[in-house]
Amino acid sequence: MLQVKELTVHYGKALAVENVSLDVKEGEFVAVIGPNGAGKTTLFKTISSVIKPSSGEIYFEGKRIDTLPPHEVAKLGIAHCPERRRLAYRMTVMENLELGAYLRDDREGIAEDLNYVFELFPILKERKNQKAGTLSGGEQQMLAIGRALMANPRLLMMDEPSVGLAPLMKERIFEAIEEIKMERKVTILISEQDASLVLPMSDRAYVMETGKIKMEGRGKELMDNDYVKVTYLGL
């Protein structure tokens, strides 16, 4: 479904992603793990076409997307839940969710997905008329995920959904992600620093360090890998 081929990305002269190849098949749950500064966010932003690569190509369902503007990429069915939420903080919870469905006009479908989001995160329903900026960090992360779900995407990309949250809230978010994985017919690409949260539920994962893919494998395999154990699982 998604193919990233030999991607290299710079910020000015600084190299952020170097010769990264990655693919995601329909229905898969794929994780990218790696420490802060590894290039995960840059990789995700390049897939969404917010950043243009210096070289390499990105294909979605066979169509080249790195040359498209971001809104055209979104139109193809890719939703990107950005790192650190990035909500419309001065708008209400409901308005943020409506903006998630910006490209849709199937009223019934939108209403169904709204129900689904409210079932997944009941607190959002309670707070639907509140400004997003007044929510707690965890609630904001729920809203960011809910907003991405409202697009009813084919590929859902979540960039470090647990970053900056308290341990309990991290778990709560990952329970929700597991639920999305089970219940929705959506392909998922997720990045995460906390490998112990994401590897158990990943079909496959990539380990990214200093801009490069260091390793890849099935989630379970990587959990048994000595390097991953020592470096990422603290075992």
Binding site: S48, V50, P69, P70, H71, A74, K75, A79, H80, P82, R86, A88, Y89, R90, M91, E95, E98, L99, G100, Y102, L103, R147, A151
Partner: protein, 286 residues
């Protein structure tokens, strides 16, 4: 005494509504595009002269002249944005200088086309209404009512329509707006057009009250800047209230102190407020 005061406040509010309208255009462009548009006053000038062209020179009815002017200025704004702003929008200083230069070019075009002398559009409504024992021109009341109607419509559109919500999203986070499927460049182009329209509408509504001349846009531009900063950059409510506060302050100063101080008062108020609250009246602290 008290009647005079109330009467002055009424005239201040009437003129302030039009200041608010003009300043709102600047607020929207600032919010959605993060640029300071020094050409805003030139769009004001164009609005006045197009109304003059259609109503006085071509003898059209005033409402038709107003609507036609507004539509033309919208088109001018959109073309201006595509041709001049879009290629350099990220370079803030260049945008500042370019919009400054373009304002002079537009002024010269107006001077060349209509001549340098003062023009006026005769009031199309006559008579006065009485408020608190004082009288106010029907013309001014009408212009104010239309201005407030436009402001209200705009606020409702921003709140409830899809384009309005997209504009607010772009104002908050351009990059994420793109991720959500919003065509950011198109929203910005349209916002710029609307911004120009608000300046033009204010000018068209003021044209039966004030005189027209090619450099007429600079004064409202400065006033609009002062209003936008006083109200808190990007705050619609702040802009509207400040417009009215400035209108009233001007009229009161003109009457009780001296007409020469009248034009300076908004700027004195501005300096006072930003020394107390640097983000302006309704500005959010970062």
């Amino acid at each position: 005494m008290i009647e005079t005061l109330l009467n002055l406040i009424v005239s201040g509010i009437l003129i302030g509504g039009l200041y608010a309208l003009a300043a709102l255009g600047l607020t929207i462009v600032l919010g959605v595009m993060r640029i300071i548009n020094v050409s805003h006053g030139a769009f004001y000038t164009l609005g006045a002269y197009f109304t003059f062209l259609f109503s006085v020179m071509l003898g059209m009815n005033y409402i038709a002249a107003f609507l036609l002017s507004v539509v033309i200025v919208f088109a001018v704004g959109v073309i201006y944005e595509r041709a001049l702003i879009k290629p350099i929008r990220k370079e803030e200083l260049n945008v500042l200088i370019l919009t400054f230069a373009a304002a002079f070019v537009i002024e010269e075009i107006v001077k060349f086309t209509f001549g340098p002398r003062y023009r006026n559009i005769p009031p199309y409504l006559s008579g006065t209404v009485t408020f608190f024992g004082g009288s106010v021109d029907v013309q001014r009341v009408f212009s104010f009512v239309i201005a407030i109607a436009i402001v209200t419509l705009l606020i409702l559109a921003l709140r409830f329509t899809k384009v309005g919500k997209a504009m607010r999203m772009v104002a908050e986070d351009e990059e994420v707006a793109g991720l959500l499927g919003i065509n950011v460049e198109r929203i910005q182009m349209v916002s710029f057009g609307f911004g120009a329209v608000l300046a033009a509408a204010a000018a068209a509504l003021l044209s039966p009250i004030y005189l027209l001349y090619p450099a007429m846009g600079w004064d409202p531009l400065l006033k609009a800047f002062a209003i936008v900063i006083f109200g808190g950059m990007g705050s619609i409510t702040g802009t509207v209230l400040t417009g009215i506060i400035f209108g009233v302050a001007e009229v009161l100063t003109g009457y009780y102190i001296s007409p020469t101080w009248k034009t300076v008062v908004p700027f004195i108020l501005l300096i006072l407020i930003i020394s107390v609250k640097p983000t302006g009246l309704f500005g959010e602290e970062e």
